[in-house]
């Protein structure tokens, strides 16, 4: 009963947010809608009893990714897109691509649609709702990460360390070259 409410609210938030991200013209607005969509996804995780992943979703996406996107948009000044008119008199926004990008987009869209249809079709044929009785606790996640998936865990930590060192090098004031010159 309660889970159903939660599911409907978060599903509405996710879908409404995702559509608004695409439809709206203002980049900052679409970033805010993305925020709602991501919060909706966290709610969907909660309906599946995956509390840890829901909290991770909030910490990583709401606290990190969305703020990063906002900073990026604001520093590049992309918020004021002007409406342009193409040679056919239709409205077009800049950076929407040319023929090549459209072909790539159409192809990847077709592949994605095929995958989605395949998944949806099999679940529609069975038409059975699997009752989930996982109780994924944090302990289980931690034990799995450090035993079965230790390679992925270590590799991702190396990746993050590399990103950190790279960021430090980019941000470092170039004192040594000044001294040499």
């Amino acid at each position: 009963m309660f889970l159903k409410f939660l599911f409907y609210i978060s599903a509405f938030l996710t879908v409404f947010g995702a559509i608004s991200v695409v439809v709206t013209r203002n980049l900052i607005h679409s970033c805010v809608y993305l925020l709602f969509s991501l919060i909706g996804v966290a709610g969907l995780y909660l309906t599946l009893n995956a509390e840890f992943i829901a909290a991770t979703q909030l910490v990583v996406y709401v606290g990190g990714i969305v703020v990063l996107l906002l900073f990026a948009i604001m520093l590049t000044g992309g918020s004021n897109l002007k409406v342009l008119v193409n040679k056919f008199g239709l409205e077009s926004t800049p950076l929407m691509g040319n023929l090549k990008t459209y072909i790539f987009a159409a192809l990847s869209g077709l592949v994605l649609a095929a995958v989605l249809i395949k998944i949806l079709f099999s679940s529609l044929l069975k038409s059975s709702t699997v009752s989930n009785n996982f109780f994924t606790t944090v302990e289980d996640v931690g034990v799995k990460l450090l035993t079965d998936h230790i390679l992925a865990f270590e590799l991702s930590s190396v990746l993050l360390l590399g990103a950190l060192v790279g960021a430090a090098i980019i941000a470092r004031p170039q004192r040594s070259t000044e001294v040499e010159e």
Binding site: F2, I28, V32, A54, A55, V62, G63, T137
Partner: protein, 373 residues
């Protein structure tokens, strides 16, 4: 272990409630908690003025009610009656949504606040992690509020606020991770149940690293709530009043209320993580109603003591410069927090999780036995 307040009441009265009554009880508890927190936020502004007045040898508000204690109600009436101004050049959608994001982020964090062993709205098994997630909405709200106002001051304040909140989340999260490792669980009730009521069992005195960790957490929490000496986002001598320069009336009040409630929340979390939480000495009153009331008193008095320190710091220390702020975070607090984390790991491994009190007691007993020979 009680999962929610409703299950505690069920446990107390030996009844099983249906769906309707459960929802009604839960709604009642939420209503109560949010209103109490709003009053605490309001009284926070009163306390701020009164304590600052005390420090500066002034009177402070003393006209409305006894000792001026109803000043916050008068302020609230003033805020509601004010004209609600939205600048014409502002981004209206974001301008209206930003204060709500701030306030909802703070109010969502109340869901896991362990006020007493019974009165916890919901004891999530990822409690402290959830709290970190929802309070990060405040940063987004501050940033969007600053951006949407379309004013240079507000923009600068919002950018400073967002970068400061993100940066200081790193040492705070590392310190919380250390405490989680000591307690062996993310749930706030687990974190409290590892401590005792009297100071020798508090996590702050568990080992040297957690003692340092408390101060790192407190400094980071001051910065995350944009309180002085880290109140650069609203530095009035540089930025008029920062990210809420263009806000008036209730929208401004939402920002202010969010700030004061968040200060209380971080003080409460510090109480729960380091200072023994709601534990009553010698377990007076047990788990019944009297025990719950004693736990509430203990928890609130510890939190208010920290609240006093926050206000005291604000009116004592001058503001930092913006680059010094980042230097403190990235060059001092973060390395110390990392060192702390490694040190606490070694401590837990070497001494099998025993606190320094237990180790000293062990040595003292061994010495006494040795002296008897």
């Amino acid at each position: 272990m009680n999962q929610t307040i409703v299950s505690y009441i069920e446990h107390l009265t030996d009844k099983q409630f249906g769906f309707g009554i459960t929802v009604a009880l839960f709604f009642l508890a939420v209503f109560l908690l949010v209103n109490v927190m709003a009053i605490i936020g309001g009284l926070g502004t009163y306390a701020e003025r009164k304590i600052s007045a005390d420090i500066q040898m002034r009177q402070g508000p003393n006209r409305v009610g006894p000792y001026g204690i109803l000043q916050f109600l008068a302020d609230g009436v003033k805020m509601i009656m004010k004209e609600d101004i939205i600048p014409t050049q502002a981004d209206k959608l974001i301008f209206t949504i930003a204060p709500l994001l701030c306030l909802s982020g703070v109010l969502a964090s109340l869901a896991v606040l362990p006020i007493s062993s019974g009165f916890t709205l919901s004891d999530l098994n990822v409690g402290i992690f959830y709290l970190l997630g929802v309070t990060s909405l405040v940063g987004v709200g501050v940033f969007l509020g600053g951006y949407a106002s379309n004013s240079k001051w507000a923009m600068l304040g919002g950018m400073r606020g967002a970068s400061q909140i993100i940066s200081y989340e790193v040492p705070v999260t590392l310190t919380i991770l250390m405490m989680v490792m000591l307690a062996g669980g993310l749930s706030l009730n687990t974190l409290i149940s590892g401590q005792t009521a009297l100071p020798h069992g508090w996590y702050i005195f568990h080992n040297p690293f957690s003692f340092i960790g408390f101060f790192i957490y407190f400094i980071g929490a001051l910065a995350e709530t944009n309180r002085a000496p880290f109140d650069l986002p609203e530095a009035e001598s540089e930025l008029v009043s920062g990210y809420h320069t263009e806000y008036s009336g209730m929208r401004f009040a939402f920002f202010a209320l969010a700030e004061y409630i968040e200060v209380f929340v971080v003080c409460a979390v510090a109480t729960a993580l380091f200072l023994g939480g709601y534990k009553v000495p010698f377990n007076v009153g047990g788990d019944g109603p009297i025990g719950q009331i004693l736990q509430l008193v203990i928890f609130f008095s510890k939190s208010f003591a920290l609240y006093y320190v926050v206000i005291w710091v604000r009116w004592t220390l001058p503001r930092l410069r913006v680059d010094h702020l980042m230097v403190i975070c990235w060059k001092y607090l973060t390395p110390i927090a990392l060192f702390n984390l490694v040190g606490a790991t070694l401590w837990v491994y070497l001494f099998e999780g025993r606190s320094i009190y237990l180790i000293l007691k062990h040595f003292a007993e061994a010495h006494m036995v040795g002296g008897g020979h």
